[in-house]
């Protein structure tokens, strides 16, 4: 049983152990609010050149949306306790050929290295379903797959990922879909990561971003460090959010 396999060392009584096993089997979502918020992020149309430079004046004109990461996924009991909610400040823009996501969040340490077996890097991801059906938030399902853009501080390039349910994520194998460009800056306790890709899909492994269309979108965030967050240990948006491409 998957839940059993992921148990951490602890001293639970057999009864409590059983309860925890059951809960972990279901992948525990611990919403810290009873109703997770839904916001609309509008990818505004900006004619001309948009750059991944956070100092590009274009970004001053793009409205910012605060996205609450209000749910903790704890796939491994005993992993670091989440310090409550986290917030992403998200800006989105497009110029009808490329779409840009400017994601900013507080993180007191820049964890960029995995050079020691104990180190994990900071990461952020966004996911969009391929279908307009309400795919499961937990990385879709076999018949409702999702497309994920995964940034991690130690990677040279964000990864284009396809998933059909929890634990199925796979970096898409075709080189064409690994076309995501980015910039990353950590300054004074804040990460700013700007991610961009063409709106037209490079292959079947990418969703198409089309003007005038609403998409479901979800976000995840991992705080790295020594024995830091990875895999199912992360903060996520507890609901699908809305992305509108102007």
């Amino acid at each position: 049983m998957r839940g059993e396999r992921n148990m951490e060392k602890n001293t639970f009584s057999p009864v409590l152990k059983k309860v925890v096993l059951t809960l972990t089997t279901l992948l525990i979502f611990l919403p810290t609010a009873s109703i997770a918020a839904t916001v609309t992020i509008t990818a505004v149309y900006v004619p001309g050149v948009i750059s991944i430079d956070p100092l590009d004046p274009v970004w001053g004109q793009v409205p910012e949306t605060v996205v609450s990461l209000d749910a903790a996924v704890i796939q491994v009991i005993g992993s670091p306790i989440m310090p409550g909610w986290r917030f992403l400040n998200v800006k989105a823009a497009h110029n009808s050929t490329d779409i840009f996501f400017n994601i900013k969040w507080n993180d007191s340490t820049a964890d960029e290295s995995i050079g020691d077996p104990t180190l994990f890097a900071d990461a952020v991801a966004l996911q969009v379903p391929y279908t307009f059906l309400m795919a499961p938030l937990e990385m879709g399902s076999q018949f409702q797959p999702v497309n994920i853009i995964f940034w991690r501080a130690d990677l040279l390039q964000p990864q284009n990922i396809v998933a059909g349910g929890a634990s199925t994520i796979q970096k898409s194998p075709d080189a064409a879909s690994q076309n995501i460009v980015h910039s990353q800056n950590w300054h004074a306790g804040t990460w700013t990561v700007i991610i961009s890709r063409p709106m037209l899909p490079a292959s079947v492994n990418q969703v198409a971003f089309t003007r005038g269309v609403n998409y479901n979108i979800a976000f995840s965030n991992w705080e790295g460090g020594i024995e830091g967050e990875r895999n199912g240990v992360k903060m996520i948006t507890g609901n699908w959010q809305n992305l509108y491409i102007q």
């Binding site: 148990m7 995995i114 990875r230």
Partner: protein
């Protein structure tokens, strides 16, 4: 996990291990000396015991399954320093007949591990315990045990580690692994390694390109002491199974970890003192029993009895040979040719 049709097994006779590290180097040269990020990895290592081992204090870190159950335990991740950061020696200074530095008379590692936290692979070599002339140590070669109940496989949420149905070899799918390292925390033998350059975990592959062709693993064929036997569990006539099942002289390393390892060890008699084999066991039975046993439920006292039984069996067979009688067990332990040791 798919039904395992047959299982690879190894037996190591610790009485024959010289600590020469030829197995270590054979493995390293074959599999882990090319790619960045692999320098610190020794899929096969030989450590002196008693000692802290590789990585440091692996025996007490944790992992495996609690009390023979399916309750998976996890340890902290060892640091790179616990494995030992790789170094080079100043051979170019000391061993050059010309152009060297005459004042550099000693071969030293560079960068030299220093300070109270200094450690490296095989750091405790030949240190052992006890007071002369009753000091003792032995060499413990270790590679992945390709366990019947592998904790690494159980820990991976992505099924990136799998156990092959055809031979029970445990492998990491390098394209599925995402470097979460749950496997390292779960493996009580700490035989899965993280490659920080390739961002995935890597481990002993049981030389599967060779074993599939019925060739012995490099660590087996290169073993100077001829102390390694390899074979499949489904062949009762193979020497691995004769040693484990028929003569019952080989035990598992830390079977209490609950993973059912498939490497078996013939426990060591005490090493010679002053050139003579000792009459008494210098390595305490309790020490050996703390390390070796048949299965995860065996008590310490039962393990002591088993080890004494094994020594008795071997001494009896050796006495038969000394008096001119044949002994199938001694024939196997002598392992005259490679075909005695590689039966795949």
């Amino acid at each position: 996990m798919a039904k395992i049709l047959k299982q690879v097994r190894m037996v190591f006779d610790l009485n024959k291990c010289l600590g020469c590290q030829t197995c270590t180097m054979a493995c390293k040269t074959a599999w882990s000396d090319r790619n960045p990020g692999q320098q610190y990895m020794y899929w096969n290592n030989v450590e002196s015991q008693p000692g802290r081992g590789y990585p440091r204090n692996w025996e007490t870190l944790g992992g495996g399954f609690r009390n023979c159950s399916t309750f998976l335990l996890k340890s902290p991740l060892p640091t790179l320093n616990d494995y030992g950061a790789p170094w080079e020696y100043n051979y170019d200074q000391v061993l050059k007949t010309s152009g060297g530095i005459p004042s550099a008379a000693v071969i030293v590692p560079s960068p030299e591990p220093a300070g109270p936290d200094a450690y490296s692979n095989n750091w405790d070599e030949d240190v052992g315990e006890g007071v002369f002339p009753n000091s003792y140590y032995f060499y413990l070669p270790r590679n992945c045990n390709h366990c019947t109940n592998p904790a690494c496989v159980a820990a991976c949420p992505r099924q990136a580690i799998y156990k092959r149905a055809e031979d029970g070899i445990v492998l990491v799918d390098q394209t599925r692994c995402r470097g979460y390292r749950h496997c390292i925390k779960a493996c009580p033998y700490k035989k899965v390694y993280f490659n920080s350059d390739e961002k995935v975990t890597q481990k002993c592959i049981f030389c599967y390109p060779r074993t599939e062709n019925r060739q012995g693993n490099f660590c087996v064929t290169q073993c100077v002491g001829r102390l390694r036997w390899v074979g499949y569990s489904d062949n009762p006539a193979s020497n691995v199974n004769r040693l484990v099942e028929e003569f019952r002289v080989a035990l598992r390393l830390h079977p209490e970890f609950g993973t059912q390892p498939n490497t078996f060890y013939i426990p060591p008699f005490s090493p010679p003192g002053a050139g003579q084999l000792p009459d008494t066991q210098r390595i305490p039975f309790d020490y050996l029993a703390n390390m070796f046993g048949d299965d995860c439920r065996q008590t310490q006292a039962q393990r002591v009895v088993r080890i004494q039984e094994i020594f008795s069996i071997i001494r009896t067979e050796q006495a038969k040979v000394a008096s001119g009688l044949p002994s199938a067990l001694v024939d196997i332990l002598t392992s005259r040719s490679e075909t005695d040791r590689v039966q795949l």
